[in-house]
């Protein structure tokens, strides 16, 4: 398909098909919200449509499927390291939430005690 050095010339029809596909996928992801899907179904659908859209943009519009392996690896492998960051911060966020729930819960209890101004010592134990 390539004509000259580094040239990415591909049939227009392919771009149109991907273009329409991206429209359809965007409509689907909007419908996830419009039809008020909740819970794991919602999250799964959001992730699936997001990854499909991102994949088509990178592969076709950004020509990644036609690039040499050296460039593909140099660009697409480093972001995998971000998975480590995301998982670590998810664990960290959960821990922070847990500690906040405990500490803020106690503070709330104490302020309630002060309002009632009695029986605090007993309820603490």
């Amino acid at each position: 398909m390539e004509h000259a050095e580094g040239q990415q010339q591909h049939p227009v029809g392919l771009y149109f098909k991907v273009w329409i596909l991206l429209f359809v996928l965007s409509t689907f992801s909007y419908l996830v919200d419009y039809l008020e899907f909740q819970g794991y179904l919602r999250w799964t659908l959001i992730i699936v449509f997001m990854l499909l859209k991102a994949g088509f943009i990178v592969a076709i519009f950004m020509h990644m499927v036609w690039e040499r392996m050296a460039l593909v690896c140099a660009i697409l492998l480093p972001p995998l390291a971000l998975g480590v960051l995301i998982s670590l911060m998810a664990i960290e966020g959960d821990t922070t939430f847990l500690i906040r729930s405990i500490v803020f819960g106690q503070e709330q209890q104490q302020s309630q005690c002060l309002e009632q101004s009695q029986e605090c010592e007993h309820s603490e134990g």
């Binding site: 227009v12 273009w19 909007y30 959001i46 950004m62 690039e67 040499r68 140099a74 480093p78 995301i86």
Partner: protein, 239 residues
């Protein structure tokens, strides 16, 4: 670098001297040493390789922002405002959730399509059509930024959202929203300026002696802006 008179060890010095480009000293030697690398990305114009590496670094920046957003949203004990309701609009008596964001998404995808067309016409050496398609892309981008201005002003003035507080729930909503969408909007704005400049030069015929890979390089940036929006739309607006 060990080429000077006090070079380390006789053996390594003699092997170095066998290479052609170690003969130069000082600044010339520095340039020769750095330029002696072999070409890694074969058949890829250097500008395209550089754009890809820049986009890779940008990926890390946006992921850091989105990860920060994830962390504060997980860790807050205050309920997160429901984006579907926050970004709803009432048009002609109908209350439609997320409608402006949906329109913005479609506009950005349309602009990505016109950009892909511009790249195609550029490689066909049809520079006038390519330049017009790039300008159309830039106009779509500008309208996207315009809608974002509308969205921001509605949120700030009508809803009272601030980076440190908002009436709907967790205070972190405002800070992450302005940070993430602001940085993306900045990218779109810079893209509009960048595309306009390249489109003008393409129209004038400045790149007639090249293969018009410059349009593909500008296109890579624009598609990346669209790509980032896909993730922001999924994680910030839909989640």
């Amino acid at each position: 670098m060990t080429q000077s008179s006090q070079g380390s060890g006789g053996e390594s010095l003699s092997t170095n001297e066998n290479l052609d480009n170690t003969s130069a000293d000082g600044v010339q030697g520095l340039v020769a040493d750095w330029a002696s690398d072999v070409e890694v990305f074969k058949d890829v114009p250097w500008g395209k390789a550089m754009m890809w590496i820049f986009l890779l670094s940008d990926t890390f920046i946006f992921t850091c922002f989105l990860t920060g957003y994830m962390t504060v949203r997980i860790s807050t004990t205050v309920p997160w405002p429901i984006p579907s309701e926050v970004f709803a609009l009432t048009i002609a008596g109908h209350h439609i959730p997320l409608v402006l964001i949906a329109i913005m998404t479609f506009i950005l995808i349309t602009s990505s399509g016109t950009m892909a067309m511009a790249v195609n016409f550029g490689y066909r050496k049809n520079r006038k059509v390519a330049a017009i398609l790039m300008l159309v892309t830039a106009l779509f981008g500008a309208s996207f930024v315009g809608m974002q201005v509308f969205e921001w002003s509605k949120l700030i003035i009508d809803e009272g959202v601030r980076p440190w507080s908002n009436p709907m729930g967790a205070a972190q909503f405002g800070s992450t929203f302005f940070m993430v969408t602001g940085f993306h909007g900045l990218h779109v704005s810079i893209g509009v300026i960048y595309l306009s400049i390249v489109a003008r030069k393409v129209w004038r015929g400045d790149y007639e002696h090249t293969n018009y890979e410059i349009i593909e390089i500008a296109g890579l940036y624009w598609h990346f802006v669209d790509l980032v929006w896909v993730f922001i739309f999924a994680f910030f607006y839909l989640w």
